[in-house]
């Protein structure tokens, strides 16, 4: 259905897809929660731990030098893939959540005051809401919510109205994890900049699904998680413009992030990115994340995006033939996420029965409670796609749904 995309070959690279669940072949439709890992990622990590591991930086021995070079090579891979201006703009974090908290804890704490305003959309993941709420409860700034339309797109009129409040910062997700909406990050950033605001983009759901050009978007901060881009857990990155990073105070203190430590004269700090990387980093995770990005590049993110779009369209079509099924998130530009409910049926019941048939979907509020409250629903069933999903997966989902609905009605 989409030409040259060899999904069978891709699937063979993912050992987990050979698994059976409850006697059925696994149909994994939960990549928005976490993507599965291709062999190259698993083996890169294994190879590193088996033959190259050592703590990095400051070491004079060969293992330390090799590990450091592999680690810094991964930083270079990220910088090049996301088109940052320099390696120092890529800070390794434990994930997207950690990155947002870093921005809140350093830039936010240093720059926001009781009279500041922070804008965010109603679509945001808890990870992009709660750090700001915690900081707001301390500093006293105001959080204003940018409204959305029922199809899940940002209301630009409301956005402009809120920008008139002269916010210090605008936070938005590049792609909504619940609705799949792709926001026009470049346009939203440019409007915010025109209004004098800084821009932090939550790219957790964009990075695995499209080419992201940070200098083109021109945002000030951007975060992503490795485990959603076919990489390992416990690693992600924060991008920040160099001038901002230079000016920001440190967050976590520890080894690596210092220039010189003393009890007698003031301790001085290292330059970015090290200033923000306290302690021993997740060395094997960073290196394997580099491998994950290279893997995505080898398939081609444009190809992945086109394939996932085709799956999404097909899923919409098929699902809408089910009586009483409503899809949440019908933006024109959307990534491979399909959230839905069936009238009179609780999403967790569907999730439980689908699981019995080997189909892994996520049910619940997907860490977007304010969005669920706005729709006045307790949650949705969410099927989300990765590079390895097939049209057969969609068919299996639809058939299982029909069976489950019959049982539950």
């Amino acid at each position: 259905m989409d030409g040259n995309y060899d999904v069978a070959a891709i699937r063979r690279e993912f050992p987990i897809l050979e698994r059976k669940v409850n006697g059925f072949p696994l149909v994994y439709l939960d990549s928005a929660a976490s993507a599965q890992k291709p062999r190259t990622v698993i083996e890169t990590q294994r190879e590193y731990l088996s033959h190259f591991h050592s703590n990095i930086h400051r070491g004079v021995h060969t293992l330390a030098t090799q590990a450091t070079e592999a680690f810094e090579g991964a930083r270079e891979t990220i910088k090049a893939h996301f088109n940052a201006a320099e390696n120092a703009e890529i800070i390794f974090t434990a994930g997207a959540t950690d990155g947002i908290n870093l921005v809140a804890g350093t830039w936010g704490r240093a720059n926001l005051t009781a009279s500041s305003t922070v804008l965010m959309t109603r679509l945001e993941h808890h990870s992009n809401i709660v750090p700001w709420q915690i900081l707001a409860s301390e500093i006293g700034f105001k959080i204003e919510v940018i409204e959305i339309f029922p199809e899940g797109t940002i209301d630009l009129e409301d956005y402009n109205a809120k920008l008139a409040l002269a916010p210090s910062l605008v936070c938005f997700s590049h792609v909504s994890n619940t609705l799949g909406t792709i926001n026009d990050a470049k346009q939203l950033t440019s409007l915010a900049h025109d209004a004098g605001a800084m821009v932090m983009v939550d790219g957790a759901q964009a990075a695995p699904h499209m080419n992201v050009d940070l200098q083109d978007i021109n945002c000030d901060f951007y975060v992503a998680s490795g485990h959603k881009m076919y990489g390992p857990t416990g690693i992600g990155f924060l991008y920040g413009k160099r001038a901002l990073l230079d000016a920001m105070p440190p967050w976590r203190g520890g080894g690596e992030m210092i220039s010189s430590v003393s009890f007698d004269v003031p301790t001085t700090f290292n330059v970015p990115p090290y200033k923000f990387e306290a302690g021993t980093p997740h060395i094997s995770g960073a290196i394997a994340l580099g491998a994950a990005i290279k893997w995505m590049e080898s398939v081609g993110l444009d190809n992945i995006a086109a394939h996932e779009l085709a799956l999404t369209k097909y899923a919409h079509e098929k699902l809408l033939q089910i009586e009483g099924l409503r899809i949440y998130g019908t933006a024109e530009h959307k990534a491979g996420v399909v959230s839905f409910l069936v009238e009179g049926i609780h999403p967790s019941d569907l999730g439980t029965l689908l699981d019995q048939l080997g189909i892994a979907v996520r049910t619940g509020h997907h860490c977007t409670e304010p969005l669920m409250d706005w729709y006045k629903i307790p949650g949705t069933v969410r099927a989300s796609f990765g590079a390895y999903n097939t049209f057969d997966d969609v068919d299996a989902l639809v058939a299982a749904l029909e069976r489950a609905i019959k049982m539950l009605k």
């Binding site: 409850n22 609780h346 967790s348 019941d349 439980t352 029965l353 619940g364 307790p378 049982m407 539950l408």
Partner: protein, 144 residues
């Protein structure tokens, strides 16, 4: 005075009932059936106090002591499978002595192969509900 044999007999009855089913889907059909048959809780009893936290589906549980000193449970859920599992719990524990409820070894879910639903890492709230039921048993036996 407790009567642990009663609870054991009720559990065995359920185990036998489920042994008739050949596959998972049949078991779930039965659970759904029981969910549908469970008397819904009055809306007035679906209070914040009776709500069990930490659930993807919501579970409400209320408990009273009857004249004989037995604990009578009523429960409900907005998800039908959870409600069916809740019904099974109520069937085993309702109308039993508080000290038996506090001490019972609930093995039947494991025996019928549904114990993953009881895992505290599961977000259906069943584990929390069982904990809450046992807590009622403890509290009521302390008071008597």
């Amino acid at each position: 005075m407790g009567n642990m044999k009663l609870l054991e007999a009720r559990q065995n009855e359920i185990i036998e009932e489920f042994s008739m089913f050949g596959d998972w889907m049949e078991k779930y059909e039965h659970i759904i059936e029981m969910g549908k048959e469970l008397n819904p809780l009055a809306e007035s009893d679906k209070t914040e106090d009776n709500l069990i936290r930490g659930c993807q589906s919501r579970v409400w549980l209320s408990a009273q002591k009857d004249e004989e000193g037995d604990v009578v449970f009523s429960a409900d859920s907005d998800a039908i499978i959870t409600k069916g599992l809740v019904a099974l719990m109520v069937r085993v524990l309702s109308g039993a002595k508080p000290e038996d409820i506090a001490n019972v070894d609930l093995h039947f879910l494991a025996d019928i192969g549904l114990n993953t639903h009881l895992s505290p890492t599961r977000s259906n709230g069943l584990a929390s509900m069982v904990k809450q039921m046992k807590m009622y048993g403890l509290v009521f036996s302390a008071r008597s």
